[in-house]
């Protein structure tokens, strides 16, 4: 296995620190505005909950030009007495540096894994640098199951607006759960805890020159942990509120990145998921509470217009992927007036299975295949929004549960056609 080349000053810092019990990694790229809050929350969490453990905060930066690394170096909790009842014994070290390799979150994580390995860390945490809702408790909730509970991987559990996280809710969660039989609710949450052993295992995998290094790291980490039999848990962290996203971010590119990573892992672990049927819950930690969430504006009429536009223009492509039967159902759906539009769960499940099979059979270039799913996904999202419009969070979650069960019921269809 090739190791990443760290700068000599980083080597010196690692040699000076020599050993750490906990490594907290923060990947970043032009996050000077938000990373200060994240670093303060991490420092407070380490000081409050792990005062006797040696800890290091690692900022793996993608070459920011807005002074992100300087913010990390300068940020510290000025008055610990506000949040602590006792003084911290062990100091918290900080390393901030630009990572080398293919630009992407995966390369940033690889460097964090390397440093965790060099420092012989017992537990690691990675948190996004644009999280506005992070609190010191997140560190406790992601580290304790590893240090005390003996778990190797801790996924996050968030409260989100019922209309948020729709790719996770309608594709990633139901499919991952049906494939690998574990109910990990946020497989691509972005904030994870894991053991030093898990970090070392990740480093043995030869994926660092692939799309995993660019954009598929979250689903790759979760799937690798589950598929290789590591002990997996999840912790309730509260609300997930990001910094405002780039409004120009292209939905079809986002869909391509996440779904292609998921389908690619289906190829890698086909022998693992093929015999699994049904699913089981994974242990959950943390005290669940209700959080107030910001209102979300959404225009379902425009979404349905995009779905119908796709139906008219992508007819041949969809017919080729879905087959005549399912395509006819999609066509019938397109003829319904907006007020009656309801995407059947069974049809959506078969569509995702058909796309996975088309990916497996290499029916067309991956980018074309997955980007052609966008109008169907928009139609499904509009249908979900219409259904869950007057539901509370629990009702919306029950709808997602119904979809998950539908995916589990269709596992035979997927497994049979995959061969």
């Amino acid at each position: 296995m090739n190791t990443v080349s760290l700068r000599s000053d980083v080597h010196e810092q690692i040699a000076k620190i020599a050993h750490a019990d906990i490594v907290v990694g923060i990947p970043s790229y032009n996050n000077a505005r938000t990373i200060g809050h994240v670093v303060r929350a991490v420092q407070a969490g380490l000081a409050k909950y792990f005062p006797t453990y040696r800890a290091v905060i690692v900022n793996s930066d993608g070459g920011s030009s807005d002074g992100t690394m300087e913010v990390v170096q300068k940020t510290s909790v000025e008055d610990f007495s506000v949040i602590l009842l006792h003084h911290r014994i062990e100091p918290i070290s900080k390393i901030a540096f630009p990572y080398s390799g293919i630009p992407g979150k995966g390369s940033a994580f690889r460097t964090i894994f390397e440093i965790a390995q060099k420092l012989d860390a017992k537990a690691c945490v990675v948190v996004d640098s644009d999280i506005r809702s992070i609190t010191p408790e997140w560190i406790e909730l992601l580290v304790t199951p590893v240090l005390v509970g003996g778990f190797d991987y801790v996924a996050p559990l968030y409260h989100r607006h019922k209309f948020d996280g729709t790719i996770t809710n309608s594709i990633i969660y139901p499919l991952t759960r049906a494939l690998y039989g574990k109910r990990v609710r946020q497989p691509i949450g972005g904030d994870f805890g894991f053991s030093g052993k898990m970090a070392q295992f990740y480093l043995t995998k030869d994926v660092w020159e692939t799309d995993v290094a660019r954009f598929g790291i979250d689903i790759w980490m979760t799937t690798t942990a589950i598929a290789n039999g590591f002990k997996v848990a999840q912790s309730f962290l509260g609300a997930k509120i990001h910094d405002a996203k780039d409004p120009g971010a292209d939905l079809s590119s986002m869909l391509y990145q996440v779904v292609s990573a998921l389908f690619d892992l289906m190829e890698t672990y086909s022998t693992v998921w093929m015999p699994i049927r049904g699913s089981e819950p994974v242990p959950a930690f943390g005290f669940e509470y209700t959080v107030g969430l910001e209102h979300v504006n959404v225009n379902t009429a425009r979404m349905l217009a995009m779905f119908r536009e796709g139906l008219v223009n992508l007819r041949e492509i969809w017919l080729d992927i879905l087959g005549a039967g399912d395509f006819r159902e999609v066509e019938r759906l397109g003829e319904l007036p907006d007020a009656e539009f309801d995407f059947p769960l069974s049809l959506w499940t078969r569509i995702i299975c058909d796309y996975a099979i088309a990916y497996h059979r290499k029916k067309m270039p991956v980018a074309h295949l997955i980007k052609s799913l966008t109008p169907l996904y928009i139609g499904k999202t509009a249908s979900f929004i219409r259904t869950a419009e007057n539901m509370d969070a629990a009702g919306a979650e029950a709808e997602i549960e119904k979809l998950c069960i539908e995916f589990e019921c269709n596992k035979d269809y997927l497994a049979t056609n995959w061969k």
Binding site: I167, S252, M254, M306, N313, R361, K371, T381
Partner: protein, 230 residues
């Protein structure tokens, strides 16, 4: 009398002597033809078997070659089609080699011209195949991107791009084959320029409202969805 007989026999002897000289060449041609046909058949058989072994038909389906063949009204399997193309190419080459064995000046010239033209025909075929695949790929990418951007005339746009690329590819192939290059170049310039101008006018005049709507949307006049998809 004997002079008269000589007068008759001499041309016959001459023809016989010429035929005696020509006969080995004819036999050589026939042997070459028979051997060439047999060899072409064996090569076709081996090629088809090798292509089947590497799942060439599946690959053709994936890259869109099968679709391309169907559009051209070719309904055989890509493996069989490629086998047939190679077979007939070998037959033509065999025929040319066989004809050159006759050692006739006119035929020798023809054979020479044929072999000089072969690389051009080959490059034209490559341009047509690669170009068609590329045109299909680009037009599909444009179609999907336009649909996902909510553009109303996605199919029209994709078809327009495919047509432009097809015209370009055909012009390149014909230029390679040296078929009236001057006319081809002029025709291409007129057609290509005409299409581009027509599109520019059509979009410019007919698309004012659409462009206005797009600019308004970009300027935030229309309220954006606030869903976080991930």
């Amino acid at each position: 009398m004997s002079d008269f007989l000589d007068l008759i026999l001499e041309p016959l002897q001459e023809v016989f002597l010429k035929f005696k000289v020509f006969l080995p060449n004819l036999l050589a041609m026939l042997v070459i033809m028979v051997a060439g046909i047999l060899l072409a058949k064996v090569i076709r058989l081996m090629l088809v078997k090798s292509l089947n072994a590497i799942n060439f038909d599946n690959w053709s389906d994936r890259v869109g070659m099968t679709t391309l063949m169907r559009k051209g009204d070719l309904w055989s399997k890509p493996t069989a089609a490629l086998g047939a193309v190679i077979f007939w190419l070998l037959i033509i080459v065999t025929l040319m080699i066989g004809l050159s064995a006759l050692r006739m000046h006119a035929i020798d010239n023809l054979v020479e011209q044929f072999f000089a033209y072969l690389p051009r025909a080959f490059s034209a075929a490559v341009i047509l195949i690669v170009g068609s695949l590329l045109a299909g790929f680009i037009s599909r990418a444009i179609l999907i991107a336009a649909v996902n951007s909510g553009y109303h005339y996605s199919k029209l746009l994709a078809e327009a791009v495919r047509t432009l690329l097809t015209v370009l590819i055909l012009a390149m192939a014909m230029e390679q084959l040296q078929i009236a290059p001057g006319i081809v170049l002029a025709a291409f310039s007129i057609i290509f320029g005409g299409i581009v101008t027509a599109l520019a006018i059509a979009f410019g005049v007919g698309g004012i409202d659409a462009a206005k709507r797009m600019i308004e949307r970009e300027n935030g006049a229309e309220k954006k969805d606030e869903i976080e998809h991930l």
